[in-house]
Each structure stands twice: as structure tokens, then as C-alpha cells.
Symmetry: C2
Subunit: 346 residues, 2 copies
């Protein structure tokens, strides 16, 4: 599997008439080598792929894990993390044209790379685009992550129906979700989940608080179980206790919009078309509000990856892509409703 | 508090003879505005500080939260996240010299900024350096995060002593720690905790697995409780069941090294001096192994921040800094021992 991916990268390097690519994105490195657990935020590794070998540059503290990945990987270990980039630069000696990830490298890193000479060209989003179309192995893992997330949400809904939920704070609920994710066999969660009760859930990216769940109204839960490094991502909005007609109407509108989009998601459809479908469904329900966030996104090793479903997206969905569909309507200071599903394009 | 911080930034802008600074780091934005919850990885906001005002540029989904921060913040909202940078650029019109965070900006973002003309200069690590010396409010929060983390570790140790821990997997233990963090009043955890039993803990950044805890040997726990956005960070290595003399000797050496360093941490001491102390203590215990990771790091809004305690660090510790001390000795394929504390320099 890794060899197949590396092979594609090698062919692309050849096409670009380059000698190598220096991979900097933690997710791209994971995709090409199987190295799980690199921080996407702190620079903890580089990976150099050329026509013959794949060289992983990691700090000493990752040495044992890196060596366990197999013998196709040549390692260069450096005691201090600050030394990774100079070490990567030294690997580039003698290579004429190197592709680099300009969208991942910090500007200061870019400047350091240039120091030693050589010609650099943009790798653009080649590996990210490769990652957009999942292979069978990845689709199986993503379907499992999705199944496990559904199970967790069912358990959570059962809790809401059977116990006095007003005894729990939102934070306690996120903690419950995490415990459930491990119980059902996941690695844990794909992201800090959102549990928003009452006023808070009018903010699409609400910060979960220690406030207790309110008896009446809306409880929005956005959660994903991670499975073998792949991210689940689902949102359910539960209506609990006494619910106003306004809430019910908004819920019905979001549900109708969600269902219409999910029905339409298939090979060849664009983000722009999905937005048309959504807004036409919203209009039928009597709502004219534009979405304050995008309608959906690709999901895989990374929670948010390509393809991005935006109003301007003219790119057609392709076989093997895995996307979320997550329409929402939010009433500032009052409440919000979002429903999100994951769909494999096949 | 925010005004005081912004005021310092304004004075620095003046000193640098610039018109404004464009802040891109999620942590720096949080430090200057109080906006909690921005992803440190995906670019979700920019903050422009000039002589008169502080302008926060956030996508529409953060509008409600951003507005709640108070009226000193002028907002520019943009529906699609891709539009944030062009929007930030438009705010720069008419400003001659703008300081930018070249170590935070991706190279592609840097190139986009240059497109519209104007002169850019490096902000270097000014705000990061400002953040290194904590004010009283921050120190109180960090001490609380540290206290809560200690409490969680005590609870965990009590569990190890009173129940059959071999029934729990490492992942279930991390989940327990998270539940405890919320029980004791924290926001949650500062990072995905490490619980490593048996062979795994010879890797300093071990990836916690679904393997059950082993009856005999070493259980390494690296965990931090987050409190009001500030990160706790502690490591304890518990010796359980039958323990070999080799393990006991390594433990004693790490403990002696840890205690010697903690005793020495005060105003004026450098990272280099602390390493000398550590290695001299290791030598006294009969160990010559170099550390595979740094001896410690600053901690605050960010888990790893300045000052970084490295063998080459000649910078003297200053009043208000908060650092971890975390020596460790690792025997590849066998076991590892690390002990970590947090210390306020006062």
C-alpha cells in the first residue's frame, strides 16, 4: 500500500522533471509512510522522496517508532528538533530540482531552504489531491469510523431519553462521548467534540462549557470517532423537552436541506450544484438565510481536507472521495440546528 | 489586561517605526484578544493591531463569539475561510510598514501579502517573547492548572494501588485521566495524554494503544489539565508489581537528576547550566546516556513555548517564566522513565 503511493509520487516527480520532493505536511507524511502521531502544528518531521528511496527525518525521540515502519525508510535522527530543517537541507545536496510544499512550509523555513542553493519548485497540492480519492483500504476504515460514530451518537441519544440529562454539563457530555468512542473500539475522537445546549448552539463553532444541559430546546452534538488514524465526523441536533414551533420549523428545514443534498451527492456533482439544491430546499421551507460555514468537506486522515464544498466549487466529485454534508441554520443569541452526514462517492 | 498587552504591542510597533502588526498565530491572537478556541493548525483568524485599533478578522461562523469579546475589537467577517487573507490584505491598504509573523505565515500566505505592495518587516518572535514572562493573572491560572494536574495524577496513582489495573487498556487510562480532569474542575486536557506500559514506554513520544496495562514494571503517564486556556504538563513514572533492579536504578537516576535540576531552576540560570547539572547527576548515578528530547520548555497558552531548555540555551531564566523540567532515560525495546514538573520562576 505504502509502496503504491510512493510509486505514484515518484512518477509525478519524473513528470515534473524534478529530482525529489520534500514532504513537510504531517498528514502527507503519514499517508506516504504510515507514521501516525506527528503533530500537524509543530514541525516534527520531513520526508524526502526521490527516484530510489524515501528518507524520513525525525527527532531522536521518534527513532524507535520510525524504525518500526520498515526497511524502505532510511532514517536521519537529530537530537534537537531545531536541527531537523538543516538536516533535511543536507539531504538535498546534489539534487538539482526539488519540489517543496509552499502551502505547508513556514516562510522562515522556505528562506532557510533557499540558503544552500538549488532550484525549488512548488509541489502544489499534488499529495493532498492524491489523498482526496481514497483507496479501498481507506474507504473501509472511513466507513468503520462512520459506523462507530453513529453508534456513539445512538448511545448518547439513549442517554438523553433514559436519564435526567440536566444533571450533566456540556463538558461532561463531551467526556462521555470520548469514553463511548473507546468503548466501541475507536482510537479516540477525531476532534474536540461540540456539545451545545441552549443559547450557545447558535454559534456554529461553539466552545463547549461547564454549563449544565438545559431541559428544553436543542442539544447540538458534533463528534467523530477516529479509527486507525481515519476521522469520523457527524452532527446531530437533538430536540429535548418542550420545543417551540420556531425550533421545530428550523429543524425541519435543515433536515429537508440535508436530505436533498445527501440524495444528490454522487460522481460528477459540484459544490456549486449542492449549494443550489440546499438553498432551493431552504427557500421551499421558507428560509432565506445563507450558511455561515461551508456545506461540507472531504474527510480522511485529516478532519478537513479536499474536496471543499463551497458555493464557488466547480470541481466535480469523483469516485473514492469521501465528503461530509452539513447544512445548518443559526439564530444568533437563540439556537442553532445542524445535521451532518458522511458520504462515500462510489 | 488585554489593553495592557495591546499597549505593549503598540509601543513596540512605534519603536520599530512601523504602522501595524498583522498577528497570525492563534495563540498570539488569544493572548491579545482573549479569543479562545482558534485552531493552531488551520488558519482561522488574523488580528491587525495599529496605533488606534485592534481588528479581528474571523470567518462568519466565529462572529458571535468574536463580538462577545468587547468593543475594542472591530470585526470583519467573511463567509468563506479562504477569504480571510484577502480581507486582511484589504485592511493593510494605506499602511506603509507592516510587521508580519514570518515564522507563522505559510510561504504561500507570505507571497499573497506581498502582492498588494507595501513594505513588510519581520515581527520576529516579539509577541512570543512577551508571552514568556507571565503576568500575575497568568501565573495564578498556571498554578491552578498544575495543582489540578497533580490531583489527577494522585487519583490515578490511587487507582493503581487499589484496583486490578491489568483490566484497563492504556487508552482506557487516558480516558480516565480526561474524566478526572473535568471532575476536578479543568477545561479538559492540554494534550492527548501518554499512558505507556511495558515495552512502549521506551519511546519518549509513545502512541498510547489499546494494549492492557502490564502487571509488572513501569507505567509512564504524561498528562496536563487545561485551566482557563492555560496548560498543565506533568509526567510521573509509576513502578508497579515486581520491578527489576535495572528499572529501580534508572528510576533513581532520573529522580536524582530531576530533583537536582528543580533545585537549581531560578532567575539567571540557563538551559546549558541545567544540562550540566543533569548530566553531572546522571554521571554520579552511573549513567552516560544523552537525553533524546529537550530537558524542558516554557508552558502557558501553548503547551510548548519559550523558553526552550536546550543544551545550547544561553538565555537566562527571568522572573515570571514558567517552565517544565523533564529528564528521562530510555532503554530501547525495554522501558523508559521520565519525571516532569512545572516551575514558576519567581
Amino acid at each position: 500500500m505504502w509502496e503504491e503511493r510512493i510509486q505514484k509520487v515518484r512518477e509525478w516527480i519524473k513528470e515534473k522533471k524534478a529530482d525529489a520532493v520534500l514532504v513537510s505536511s504531517a498528514y502527507n507524511i503519514q499517508y506516504l509512510t504510515g507514521f501516525i502521531g506527528l503533530s500537524p502544528y509543530e514541525r516534527e518531521a520531513f520526508c524526502l522522496v526521490d527516484g530510489e528511496k524515501t528518507t524520513l527525518v525525525v527527532p531522536m525521540m521518534y527513532e524507535e517508532h520510525a524504525r518500526s515502519l520498515g526497511k524502505q525508510i532510511v532514517l536521519c535522527i537529530d537530537g534537537e528538533r531545531k536541527g531537523l530543517l538543516p538536516l533535511a537541507c543536507s539531504l538535498l545536496q546534489g539534487k538539482k530540482i526539488v519540489l517543496i510544499e509552499e502551502h505547508v512550509l513556514k516562510h522562515t523555513e522556505y528562506v532557510r531552504l533557499q540558503q544552500d542553493g538549488g532550484e525549488f519548485r512548488s509541489a502544489e497540492l499534488y499529495i493532498e489531491h492524491l489523498r482526496e480519492r481514497k483507496d479501498d483500504h481507506e474507504i473501509a476504515l472511513l466507513k468503520m469510523a462512520d459506523e462507530l460514530t453513529k453508534t456513539v451518537l445512538q448511545k448518547f441519544e439513549y442517554m438523553l431519553k433514559t436519564v435526567d440529562y440536566t444533571q450533566f454539563s456540556e463538558l461532561q457530555c463531551t467526556d462521555m462521548l470520548r469514553t463511548m468512542a473507546i468503548e466501541v473500539g475507536g482510537d479516540g475522537l477525531s476532534f474536540d467534540p461540540i456539545v451545545a445546549s441552549g443559547v450557545g448552539n447558535s454559534q456554529p463553532h461553539y466552545r463547549t462549557s461547564s454549563k449544565k444541559l438545559e431541559k428544553n430546546g436543542v442539544i447540538l452534538v458534533d463528534v467523530g470517532v477516529k479509527y486507525h488514524g481515519y476521522c469520523g465526523d457527524l452532527t446531530r441536533t437533538f430536540l429535548v423537552g418542550d420545543v417551540s414551533d420556531e425550533v421545530k420549523n428550523v429543524y425541519a428545514a435543515v433536515e429537508a436541506g440535508h436530505d436533498a443534498c445527501v440524495k444528490q451527492v454522487r460522481i460528477g456533482v459540484t459544490g456549486a450544484q449542492l449549494y443550489e439544491t440546499l438553498y432551493s430546499s431552504f427557500r421551499e421551507s421558507g428560509f432565506l438565510q445563507p450558511m455561515p460555514h461551508s456545506l461540507g468537506h472531504g474527510v480522511g486522515l485529516e478532519l478537513h481536507e479536499g474536496p471543499h464544498l463551497k458555493p464557488s466549487a466547480e470541481q466535480a466529485l469523483q469516485k473514492g472521495m469521501v465528503v461530509t454534508i452539513e447544512p445548518g441554520i443559526y439564530r444568533a443569541g437563540k439556537f442553532g440546528v445542524r445535521i451532518e452526514s458522511m458520504r462515500v462517492i462510489e
